[in-house]
Symmetry: C2
């Protein structure tokens, strides 16, 4: 993650702690999406001359807290001078056997498409930080939801163990990431936009922006939730697996068909929808 590209450090934007948390969370989210156990993480920091030791430590401590809470060991790293703040995280995940891991390929026609958690808070927060939406109670809800985002590691392992076919984490948004599953599996994921679960404040901010709420949920990105394809007969097992984590629930948002390959975003009438591209920066 690079300053000015993935995050901004100006007043009102990312704090050093958020940068440290998100950089590690993003790497661990990929491990969650394979159903793997997190192991070691390595942090390489590029620090500008004027950044200062206190803010650098704030960044590293936030990564350390997330590591501790997820059973990840920060096992090494490096610190160098850099013209812009950058954080490179390499996280290693483990499984007892390759068969325990879930890839992006494997989705089959007839599968149902699920997601964990609630979506759109990062897109809503971006609109607030850019001043396109006001500092309303809804804005505070969305910002608070973003601040609590954590990789879905136990959920990812439980979902993988429930026998699903393919999984990806939602870093760019369903509109993009579900397309990865479709292309990897040679199938079409048809996502019903009206079914997308909305994070707190997202509906209100979408209304303020004059865009459909599903746009923030599908294209806002940076949700760190999981999207997966499962046989209809495994619906109950997947729901139970995620409920056992005690942190979130599954929402079923679509079905897999022959065709594509890729994703088809459908409105309530079943018509295909093209979404605006959203910048992913915090």
């Amino acid at each position: 993650m690079v300053e000015g590209v993935h995050f901004r450090l100006q007043e009102g934007w990312a704090t050093p702690a958020e940068v440290g948390h998100r950089a590690l969370a993003g790497a661990l989210s990929d491990i969650a999406a394979m159903g793997a156990e997190p192991g070691e993480a390595y942090l390489a920091l590029g620090i500008p001359a004027d950044f200062g030791e206190e803010r650098a430590l704030e960044l590293v401590r936030a990564a350390g807290r997330l590591a501790a809470s997820t059973g990840t060991m920060i096992a090494g790293g490096d610190v160098v001078a850099s013209p812009a703040l950058m954080v490179s995280v390499t996280a290693i995940g483990w499984a007892d056997s390759a068969g325990d891991l879930v890839g992006r390929d494997g989705s089959q026609p007839g599968d149902i498409v699920g997601v964990t958690g609630r979506l759109g808070a990062s897109g809503a927060a971006l609109a607030v930080r850019e001043g396109r939406a006001g500092r309303s109670p809804a804005a505070e809800q969305a910002l608070a939801h973003c601040g609590g985002l954590t990789p879905r590691l136990p959920e990812g392992r439980a979902i993988a163990a429930a026998g699903i076919h393919a999984m990806v984490d939602l870093s760019d948004g369903v509109a993009t990431d579900a397309g990865h599953l479709g292309r990897a599996g040679g199938v079409l994921l048809e996502v019903e936009l009206a079914q997308l679960p909305l994070a707190p404040g997202v509906a209100e901010i979408a209304q303020e922006l004059g865009v459909p709420a599903y746009e923030l949920a599908a294209a806002g990105g940076e949700d760190y939730e999981l999207c997966f394809c499962a046989a209809p007969g495994d619906r109950g097992a997947v729901e139970a697996a995620v409920a056992a984590s005690g942190r979130t629930q599954v929402t079923w948002i679509g079905v897999v068909r022959e065709g594509g390959p890729g994703v088809l975003l459908a409105d309530e009438r079943g018509d295909a929808v093209q979404l605006a591209g959203w910048e992913h920066v915090f």
Copy 2:
């Protein structure tokens, strides 16, 4: 490694291939210094908008060639946009047991201090690239020596197996890195500057610069050789271990004493020498 900090991309400076080679070589050199086997490496690239795909591929292919020649598997990574070119390499090393690894601590009074290879070429090359030394045959020799630098992985494992006490790789130069061994071991490494083995062209360029050749060899850095402390009785075993690699030889450059902790650089009369700081950029 960050553009403008660790390397420059202007005409006459580093090529993309050199950047890719050196970034992986630097990480593998640390593994060599522990006597470990290289395993996986992960490359995170930050690429400026104007860098172009061809140069990015040149960089990655050079890293791939070094990986193949050292038995390293490039197992993952990432590519992001960045205001300056940056390459972050995480390399993982392996050993059958922790006891097979060598740390920086462990040097003992009475030990002898050895290095592999020949030193100073990177310092000489920097002087040439900055125009402080001319494009003489000596300059071409030094530049060619730099271009062929490769991490001392088989030598590191062989030296570790010969029972040495402590080891470090020479990324900043003996003046700095031998100090790491001294401080980690709570001892004083006394290095005889006149004993430092010089890479081709270094003596001539030092004369042209009007500085002692040992300055380039001790402070120029970026040599990717190994420096280690061994019991005098293991001298022959260590020399044989390195000779068995067929690529280089050991030079004994000093002794370990009580005191310090740190390093003492001594001239031919045994007087302590302070060296100028050298920038480490290629």
